[in-house]
Amino acid sequence: MSTAMLRQELQLLRREGLAPWALIALTLLLVAAALNGRALLGVQARTAAALEAEAAETTLALAAQAGRGVATAISPGVVGYSVLNKPVVLPAAPLGALAIGQAELLPAWYPVTARGPHHFLARNEPDNPLRLAVGNFDAAFVIVWLLPLVVIALSFNVVSAERERGVLALALAAGSSPAGFILGKVAARALLLFVSLWLALLAAALAAGVPLGRAAGALPLLLWFTGATLYAAFWFALALFVNSRPRASDQNAGLLAGAWLVLVVLLPALTHLAATTVFAAPSRVALTTELREASESADRAAAAARDQYFFDHPEMQGGDPDRSAYFRSVAESELSVATAMAPLLAQFEVQARRQQGLVEVLQFLSPGTMTWQSLTALAGSDGARHREFRGQTLAFHERWSAFFREPLLSGATLTPVAYAALPRFEFDEPPLVSTLPRVLPALAALLVLSLLLGAVSVRRLRRFPVV
């Protein structure tokens, strides 16, 4: 394709009006979506920071009180099982604001105490369920749902319109080959869209606060660019494929719209349905009743201490009675309940992994699913990063719980030195390389699909009837 032809094609696109407006709309939508994602995740970050500051302040105050021998502050039972909440926080992922995914649904922090993990694992932030059900307006949504529509608008009639207007016959009479002429038109559109998309994505990344100067932000963003570009390339290839048969423009538009519906709306929904049906999550309702059974049997042993404690309600009455017997009973029953619940809670984890495994296989049915899975995986919002966080939290909880349980059972007290030695939590971010197995196969499949469709289309175009 010559530069002159490219220039001419770009001029035509500019004059048609649709292309500039579609690309401006795409850019604005991407930037607005990124700002929206940043605003939504900003609330999580501010909440986490406030909680950490509050917990640090409480710990300092308790340490000071312990130095003065205040009974509540030196009691490992009161502090570990009643007073001190350790907010264990999942920091925002560098690309988090670009794809909200599961990040708003799954907790970004857990209030860990010495009590069993069932107390904190099931907590949710209060939110508007209608908003959660509708889904987020984020950059991943714009890419996966709306970008194909822009590509379709730019290319649904790339051949058919030329044929309907008789331009194709004229061009061929002037010596162009059908495939060369048509590929030139598609290439001009693709080039225009890719450049606009990259600029829009860069603007969106800046708006979302992606740390471009750090490898943790720049490398996944580069893969994001690649994913979005390959996805757009797939839709161009599909448009070319549809155009490579002699049909009317509106028929092409209908076919491409149908393909969008199937690949972007229906197949992902059916994939989700298959994953949650084949590997249905264990029942939360059954978990509730099991938890109650376990709590009840553990509590029976401690019934007398409980009765006295709840009847006195020392925390509501003031004063400073000895509560160690009560908290020892709590520690024992919490351990017993946690032991009983561990296999049940693990079942959720097992099913979640199986669901994810099935989705990773079925994703190859739809470029929409592949792109969504890749973009959310790179943004850390596909659920895998949260599962890692949950695992690290449970490991931390073991240490935190033991820190209080052991002195409680041995009769020791907390000192300022002990407060200084409280276990600390810092999320150990999985390296990008651990995400690549979930991303690269999908990107490779997009590339192969695009090339295949392109190759078949070119072959068909060589025999394309001009009139």
Binding site: N36, A39, L40, V43, T47, L51, E54, I100, G101, Q102, L105, A122, R123, N124, E125, P126, D127, N128, P129, L130, R131, L132, A133, V134, F137, F141, L149, A248, D250, A253, A257, V265, P268, A269, L270, H272, L273, A275, T276, A281, S283, R284, V285, A286, L287, T288, T289, E293, E296, D299, D307, F310, F311, D312, G318, Q351, A352, T369, Q373, T376
Partner: protein
């Protein structure tokens, strides 16, 4: 003349292979959605009924205990699955299904199904509601976009109008003919859905289902009107199709998401930390400036004076039961305040969403659908309030038992199964249809407005119908 045109369009649509293929695809998707939702409904329904019975059994068989220990043991309220949730699951996946009803605290519902779903759930779920509210309108657009434009392009429009039929008659004929064909093609799925509903839950929910069906038909008619109007005005079939597809994608997917997130930005939801801090602060000080401890002291003095005794132990009642009652009075008021603030914040977000439905009749239909199916946010609130009312009654009974049947300082007082049975059983009664419909005034107005505007636009279009292709 309208009937003649309608008959011709009706037959033409039923003979069109693409229309039949599209209807088969919709039917298949509807069957998949119906089968999966039906199985889920049956399993959830029995599971929650069994769990509620089990929890009640655990409560009555908890053995002899101090009633306040029993109050801390508490009970659970499960939200039963309602029959029409198989049509429109609404917000159910994003709300907890059970609430722990315990002493002194109003807990949030727990066990949100969405927490156990894959990230693809955020992509959208295939439900019957989605089939009827998003896919059927798309099918109608694809069936209708060329109704006028292709006749204009081929020159038949000129011939038809020359035969004496007016543009308005032609428009009405196409509307009724194509609408009738669509209705006929979807009839098997509709009848199957209604049959499944009656089979699983009798006729109790049939009126609600018919209202829902009516709303979907009104929306479909609105889409048909829009498609015919655009087709009549568009310069070509191609531009008619592009405009209609863009409209469909925007009103179905884009506007709802933007509106939902905009609501949250304009009126943020309080975080759990803020909520808890607010509750703790108010519990410590009391809402009216009188701390719970001061209230207790005041009541103690009143009772000592009333019974003319000087020591709490000499009272004929157990003062601790009164203390629990005071603590519950305070905490109930505090929770009412903070849950009220939370609900108002979410209501403000929903208001933004509903206001945006002026731009998207699909959103208005979604609101009506969730309300009528019993899967809306308000239905969840109804469940939560019912459970909370039960909790308060339960605590009152337990506190009164301590006060009336034991003496102050009698920490070893025990109650037994008689009291546990006396507290009654939590039962969920769904809201009547009239209450749900009362909340649909705004979305119904939106649908009526859209209908009126489109009727006006179609009349204007038929008056200036362009006969020849440009």
């Amino acid at each position: 003349m309208i009937a003649t045109v309608a008959r011709k369009e009706f037959r033409g649509a039923l003979r069109d292979g693409r229309v039949l293929a599209g209807a088969c695809v919709l039917l298949l998707l509807g069957l998949v959605a119906l089968a999966s939702a039906g199985a889920r409904y049956a399993s959830l329904s029995s599971e929650r009924a069994v769990a509620q019975a089990l929890i009640q059994e655990q409560w009555t068989e908890q053995g002899d205990k101090n009633p306040h220990s029993a109050a801390h043991y508490g009970i659970y309220a499960f939200r039963p699955a309602l029959p029409l949730s198989f049509f429109d699951p609404g917000v159910l996946a994003y709300e907890g299904v059970s609430i722990w009803l315990e002493a002194h605290k109003r807990n949030f519902p727990a066990g949100r199904p969405a927490d156990d779903m894959t990230a693809l759930a955020r992509f959208g779920e295939l439900s019957l509601g989605f089939v009827f509210q998003a896919l059927v309108p798309l099918g109608l657009l694809l069936m209708t976009y060329a109704a006028f434009s292709s006749e204009r392009e081929s020159g038949t429009l000129r011939q038809v109008l020359a035969s004496g039929v007016t543009p308005a008659q032609l428009f009405a004929g196409k509307f009724f003919g194509l609408g009738g064909a669509a209705l006929l093609l979807l009839a098997p799925l509709l009848l199957l859905c209604l049959g499944a509903l009656v089979y699983t839950s009798g006729t109790t929910w049939l009126p609600a289902a018919l209202v829902l069906l009516g709303a979907c038909i009104v929306y479909a008619a609105l889409v048909l009107l829009l498609a015919l109007t655009v087709s009549a005005r568009a310069s070509s079939s191609q531009s008619a199709l592009l405009v209609l597809l863009a409209f469909w994608a925007v009103v179905t997917f884009v506007v709802p998401r933007i509106a939902a997130d905009l609501g949250r930005i304009l009126q943020p939801t309080p975080t759990l930390g803020e909520f808890q801090r607010g509750v703790e602060a108010d519990l410590a000080t009391g809402l009216d400036g009188e701390s719970p401890a001061a209230r207790v002291e005041k009541r103690r003095a009143q009772l000592l004076q009333l019974y003319k005794v000087e020591r709490e132990q000499d009272l004929p009642i157990n003062f601790q039961g009164i203390v629990f009652g005071i603590q519950d009075e305070v905490s109930n008021a505090v929770y009412d305040k903070h849950f009220g603030m939370l609900e108002r914040a979410i209501d403000a977000q929903v208001d933004v969403f509903e206001a945006a439905s002026v731009l998207s009749p699909r959103m208005a239909l979604g609101v009506i659908s969730q309300e009528v199916a019993g899967t809306s946010l308000q239905h969840q609130r109804y469940f939560e309030r019912g459970a909370e009312a039960f909790r308060r009654t339960l605590m009152d009974i337990l506190n009164r038992d301590i006060a009336m049947n034991s003496k102050s300082g009698q920490a070893n007082y025990r109650a037994g199964p008689g009291l546990w049975r006396q507290t009654g059983e939590y039962r969920f009664e769904p809201e009547p249809l009239s209450a749900s419909l009362a909340r649909c005034a705004a979305p119904l107005t939106v649908l009526v407005l859209w209908f009126a505007v489109l009727v006006g636009a179609s009349v204007a279009t038929t008056r200036r119908l362009q006969v020849l292709a440009t």
